[in-house]
Point group: C2
Chain length 243, copies 2
Amino acid sequence: MQSRSQVPPIMSNCDLCVIRNHAICAALDAKELEALNAIGRTRSIVPGESLIWEGEDSVLVANVIEGVLKLSTNTEDGREQIVGVVYPSDFIGRPFGGTTGHGVTALTEAKVCVFSRRDFDAFAREHPALEHKLLERTLGELDRTRRWMLLLGRKSASERLASFLLEMAERLEGQGCAVDFDKPNQRRLTLPFSRQQIADVLGLTIETVSRQFTRLKQDGVIDLPSRRDVTILDFAALTAEAG
Amino acid sequence: MQSRSQVPPIMSNCDLCVIRNHAICAALDAKELEALNAIGRTRSIVPGESLIWEGEDSVLVANVIEGVLKLSTNTEDGREQIVGVVYPSDFIGRPFGGTTGHGVTALTEAKVCVFSRRDFDAFAREHPALEHKLLERTLGELDRTRRWMLLLGRKSASERLASFLLEMAERLEGQGCAVDFDKPNQRRLTLPFSRQQIADVLGLTIETVSRQFTRLKQDGVIDLPSRRDVTILDFAALTAEAG
DNA sequence: CGGCAATTTGACTATCCTCAACAGGGGTGG
DNA sequence: CCACCCCTGTTGAGGATAGTCAAATTGCCG
């Protein structure tokens, strides 16, 4: 099912990097990129492994090369809320001081390009084009986050799950997402989330999420080939459900 | 020493601006500031008046000089969620393209320094120090927004109101907020929100907000001298309630 | 003093949560 | 290779929290 892309033996060269032209690095020319590369290193993460912990001083930042990671916060008594999800070419971490307000944990196998925050800060301040890219990315992330607040504050469980599936379909475009050419209006997604994690994204319980899944399936809006897979059968209906 | 005769008497001069050293303008020297001033103008807004509408192309950006404004989105069927609140020296609007995902509406009498987005974009790209300030501000806003997601996704009504009041106490520090020297552990706030607006911030209904207010009052945690005023009597209890 | 809008209060309901039992399926060891 | 087990997810019953609808009250402003 999965196409196994050939990974170069060592990823020290940004020219070979698949996100070279999509991440903030796109702001840099070859020479600058070399300098950035000198202060960074790639790192692999397994599902469930954390890169950054909530509340710690911001010590590192990173670019996502491969995989999906969650940003999450917890209340003192253990309730969790996922406050963001990052995909390849997204930026992770809190540059320019302060503490990280949320943990960063891999949902899938992931590969990231990490930098010491201090090094990155210094580099960024010398390269306005990089800071500009970072600003654009941050503004976009803020937009997305605010849209999510409407979901958390005002939408019902069914609207939340429908919205979630639509966003997944959009975000996974060209990745785990497959279009079946026989049925062009359908789309099959492999979710990088467990049911519990979906609940933590949507501000619901796992049981409520599960019930909404089965309801959507019974209504013929989606199909559930396996635990992690969803086939969207009726996009229009799903969009209507999203509120 | 210097002849002041050439300085225009009108308020076109940023030197007189109260937020001069707090807003992103702080990144600029006198000459740059003059250039920025040339493309901006101040504008007064009355409560309820909108500066930006949800979904429109981003045509203007602004700095808040005075007052409080809300950022809000609505579902198609009219439910509202306030996704942000801005105070003096905060930045408003969506630079660098795209559409505004949320409306911007004054909660109090307000004064803002507005710029055409195109002019501002061009100016910003020529002044990396300004973009850096804007980046820091945007990162901070993203942190704050994500913290709010935990509240919307995982907290109960009483926890939400308690968290809200604590954030208000912090944000209104030195403004409408007064410390009574007889009772140093108390603090009186004049909220810039109606009950409905508080409900729209917290993702609750006006009735639920009202009930939580009266409960906190009955428990002796707060007092409600008038509709818009809150006196926090027991900070520790309120913090405990905030979860 | 009256009118009006905002807020509070009350009664009832719905949605979602909690607790609990059950099912399924993927991996492991016999 | 198959049986078993454990983890994840599903289903069910009952309860609690917050929402809805309606009425009463407050306080602000002319």
